[in-house]
Point group: C2
Amino acid sequence: MTTLKNDRFLRALLKQPVDKTPVWMMRQAGRYLPEYRETRKKAGDFLTLCKTPELATEVTMQPLDRFELDAAILFSDILTIPDAMGLGLYFAEGEGPKFKNPVLTAADVNKLAVPDIEQELGYVTDAVSMIRKTLDGRVPLIGFSGSPWTLATYMVEGSSTKEFAKVKGMLYDRPDLMHKLLDVVADTVIQYLNAQIEAGAQAVMIFDTWGGVLTTRDYKNFSLNYMQKIIDGLKREQDGQKIPVIMFSKGGCQWLESQAETGVDALGLDWTIDIGMARHRIGDKVALQGNMDPSVLYATPERIREEVAFILQSYGKGSGHVFNLGHGIHQYVDPDNAKAFIDAVHELSIPYHL
Amino acid sequence: MTTLKNDRFLRALLKQPVDKTPVWMMRQAGRYLPEYRETRKKAGDFLTLCKTPELATEVTMQPLDRFELDAAILFSDILTIPDAMGLGLYFAEGEGPKFKNPVLTAADVNKLAVPDIEQELGYVTDAVSMIRKTLDGRVPLIGFSGSPWTLATYMVEGSSTKEFAKVKGMLYDRPDLMHKLLDVVADTVIQYLNAQIEAGAQAVMIFDTWGGVLTTRDYKNFSLNYMQKIIDGLKREQDGQKIPVIMFSKGGCQWLESQAETGVDALGLDWTIDIGMARHRIGDKVALQGNMDPSVLYATPERIREEVAFILQSYGKGSGHVFNLGHGIHQYVDPDNAKAFIDAVHELSIPYHL
């Protein structure tokens, strides 16, 4: 394996000393970049972009060529898993993701099985290998998956949702079915992330985008519980290197203490929590990743620097902080503002690591 | 003034002993009721419904005739205020609220002024008087307003939003303008709520629907700060009766301690927080209102009862709890399930007040 030229990101996740705070952005390969929109047009549609390793590699690399990012993240979609399980993912123009065969009944749940990862999701592991090769040790590559609960919301609703009527209907009325569904998805995520690790992912992240819509009790039973299962089933070492795991429950900052007890290496934070307060609450247990409000990128470069300075000061001295946005970068952000953000993190964080 | 036949709601807000836990539902007069849909059809459109006191009274009373509710809430919309400020509220079919004249520039902000409440919002105070008369002491009447920050999101975006790009752009880039806007809205809310109190509202609630999209620092500066101003400016007594004030920041449960310090009588809770934990955190400082996940109403009556029992047990013995949902009732809920919810609260709460 090539030696990493920049291992700041991995070191910070493991709370080892760094020279500057590492930084990357959720959805850094995305629609705010004109070159992404070009490749997307060339691909024809979003799914083709995900399913063609050459194109996925191309867009994964694009933000690295513009900005001094400390990590690359596999370009893919969290819904590849339900698609591989036979739900028939498609994207209706301007409408977000949809499934031809949502999971609505007991029979639908009972039919679910862990798919053959190599056969059904080989395009993802192929992309991981190809990106890793293209990166050539420049920065580490992050693999990822949605959390079982987050995937379940799409699988049951058949699309994005604001009210979660069907999926919560199942959760409250048929918890047995919901647990069965989550269990098979968790088993799939384990195999999926382990395959990404074997293919070259140097850290993995679990995106629990919708954990925050649950009650405290249900978050533990229906979301955290299955992320725990995944964490217990992951390969935490590959080729002699530790593979750090990051967990991110958006809207879940009230449950940081329980999240930190799962054995993850780092917790993602949305922007609503003060990162210094989060560090105070979880102590030195895990690293923290976050958490600038993505909307700050609509402001001026000067204002962006101020906000970066505020968050760095709030976290304080020492390693264990991976700077990021508190959610994915918005599509209407000016790429120059993203650059101002990334440069500010590197420049302003030096004193915190002396 | 007529003596109240049922003052459980007001007593609980003031932490005085009650026989049962009082209960009402946010958006209890709404689309899930067939009789509401009838009146709405008769009105022609939503704004006419809001602006015609007879119709607003009719729909306010509808849920009381079906369920054993312990409070009525004025039927209106939080956007009456920006409408009265000249922004030109309209509802595009199936698209949610829009403004003809959103607040986009410094000039737009500088033009804003407190409207003449009697002239521009007399239809609201007329509705309050008429509802109060129609209630004839059956249960107390709640008046309400949106919080300045929540109103600002609609005023700047010109519509509902998921990304808050424009309003946060202004907040981050031109905090001076944002403060000016919030200040004039806060002054308006004070006069508006005081006018509702004079017209007969026996408690008032401030809905901060979008406080939870802010960072901890910005929540305090741009949302809580202006709710504090309102609370300081409200008439807290009318005709010798105390007028309790409820504040509800959705997604704001991490800031309960600061909310409790504003001098409110009660805090609304969304469903993500365990109510026992919330009570533990704020002690006996204020009453709590909430917090069943509205999606539980998609489950069976048996399951709804279980969830009610769980929340009652979590809150524990004694007064200071007004049962409610953690957000407005969804439009596709079966009214019979709402009845099961309300009846369960009354029936199962008796032992907690012995």
